[in-house]
């Protein structure tokens, strides 16, 4: 009798163990903080290797007009619903201003008309979503490096942060606003532009009107839309979740070169 119970216990026990191992063994590892920490080493290795191979100014492939995607998929927010943005949109962004501040010598506000009057760069590039799809579009905008030179970065500035008009995740504490950041290598890269036009027209709302970032050597979530404010900072830990971007605060790599 006792042998039977023992045997049954053993069978139940081993079945439970097997199903626990089989069904969630991998997930237990996945959620282990030390494992997560170890896996993050790969991001640094990838970034250092790519930067070493890239140098600072290797260009992303530029395509011809014939290569442009017939339909450029809009992703993330397609219509910011905040009252401020709706107000700006209703007046065709005539009241909108891009604020440039933080660790800069001469904080500035620029209207859309002023940005459009500046020397622009036009490039036909591929947009790669982290999910796996790609779309090719033509972008026209002001090289970010020119703007940063004109406002003058303070020596301690290390990153450029982009604050956006879309609250992508509704939260009570306001932590769901979209934001992104890049370092100075990408900020001064010749293809890094603040685009106000796409495929020869003013940027559509779904694609980030009135102004979006293009950082052509990184994935789609770095290409912040609905830009409102640009801030030069010394480190990223003080912003939102501290990881330098909306998706970065939700587990994605800050360096999105792969």
């Amino acid at each position: 009798m006792s042998r039977l119970i023992t045997r049954r216990r053993f069978l139940i026990g081993s079945t439970l163990t097997a199903s626990a191992l089989g069904l969630s063994g991998c997930d237990v590892l996945v959620e282990n903080p030390s494992v997560q920490q170890a896996l993050r080493m790969a991001e640094g290795l990838t970034m250092r290797t790519q930067r070493l191979l890239l140098g600072d100014n290797a260009l992303a492939r530029e395509f011809t007009a014939a290569d442009i995607s017939p339909v450029f998929r809009a992703n993330g927010t397609s219509m910011p619903d905040g009252a401020q943005y709706q107000e700006l949109l209703s007046k065709q962004f005539s009241q909108w201003q891009l604020e440039i501040g933080g660790l800069v010598e001469r904080p500035t506000k620029l209207s859309l008309a002023a940005l459009k009057a500046m020397p622009a760069r036009t490039q036909i590039t591929r947009h790669d979503c982290v999910e796996g799809w790609s779309a090719i579009g033509q972008w026209t905008g002001v090289p970010l490096g020119n703007l940063l030179h004109s406002v003058g970065l303070k020596p301690e500035a290390r990153y450029i942060v982009f604050h956006c008009a879309d609250e992508f995740e509704k939260t009570l504490d306001g932590s769901g606003w979209y934001y992104e950041s890049i370092d100075l290598v990408d900020a001064f890269h010749p293809q890094t532009i603040l685009a106000h036009s796409m495929n020869g027209h003013d940027l559509e709302v779904a694609h980030g009107a009135p102004l979006r970032l293009r950082v052509e050597r990184q994935l789609g979530y770095k290409q912040a839309k609905y830009l409102m404010r640009i801030e030069a900072v010394a480190d990223l830990s003080q912003l939102y979740g501290g990881n330098g971007g909306f998706w970065e605060d939700r587990g994605y790599e800050w360096y999105a070169g792969i």
Binding site: L23, S24, C26, D27, V30, E31, Q36, A38, L39, R40, M41, A42, E43, L45, T46, Q50, L53, L54, A58, L59, A60, R61, F63, D67, S69, P70, V71, F72, R73, R126, D128, C129, V130, E131, G132, W133, S134, A135, I136, E216, R217, Q218, L219, W247, R250, G251, Y252, E253, A256, G257, I258
Partner: protein, 294 residues
Amino acid sequence: MDSTVTPTGIKPERGAKTLIRRHSLTVRLSHWLNVLCMTVLLFSGLQIFNAHPSLYWGMYGADNDPSILSMEAVENGDTVKGVTKIGSLTFDTTGILGVSTVDGEPAARGFPAWITLPSYQDLATGRRWHFFFAWLFVINGVIYMAYGFFARHFRRDLLPTADELKPANLGHEITEHARLRFPKGEKARNYNALQKLTYLLVIFILLPVMIATGLTMSPGFDAVAPWLLDLFGGRQSARTLHFVTATALIAFVLVHVVMVIASGLFNNMRSMITGRYAIETEPSSVGHQGELTP
């Protein structure tokens, strides 16, 4: 039985067994590290695939562009069907591809939970695992390649001889493999031509194509090596080839494992763990190789 056989354990009717050194430490370590890496890369790769379970050909490809393969959930009244499309063909793959069960409920997902890492949808985590083990895989591969050339492993063990490549020999080996009859005695000392060609294909074509197509999907690496885009026909073509080549590698692993079992599981496992592999030395009487029966 085999485990007790020593070089002196003579069985006259089958010839004596001799333990030879088959796999070097480098080969053994890199083999098992590869098993680990390829397993994680496959399961995390399917997690990444699930974020956008469609494949395209060319420089771009998204929802509105024609796909060459897609896995979709199609609602049909109050039921939901998993549909896999390959070119113009459509398959109902409910339960496995397109729609599969998560916590007792049908859910829209490319590959099912039991084959993705993590099991639930989490692209960010899938990517972290994929890239970490991709690095490990590349480092392991570089060490193995350097060893292969400098220690003459490729030339000595994997390069087929001219005789082995003769059609008659290849034909003979294919028939023997199909009947699951494997070389015995002295001939078992070395890989046969089919093994050599298969391993060369995996080492010098399939695995490098996996790495190269993977890197072609990286916008950063495309700026380093734009020629990769021309080689594979674009980022979306590279993504498709990454998937196709992974499928070829799965086919290789399946056949490899079947062959390992069929040609002596214990002996093969021992050789890949300890390095020692038993071969039967031929009986002193004259016996033709092909006539040995199990």
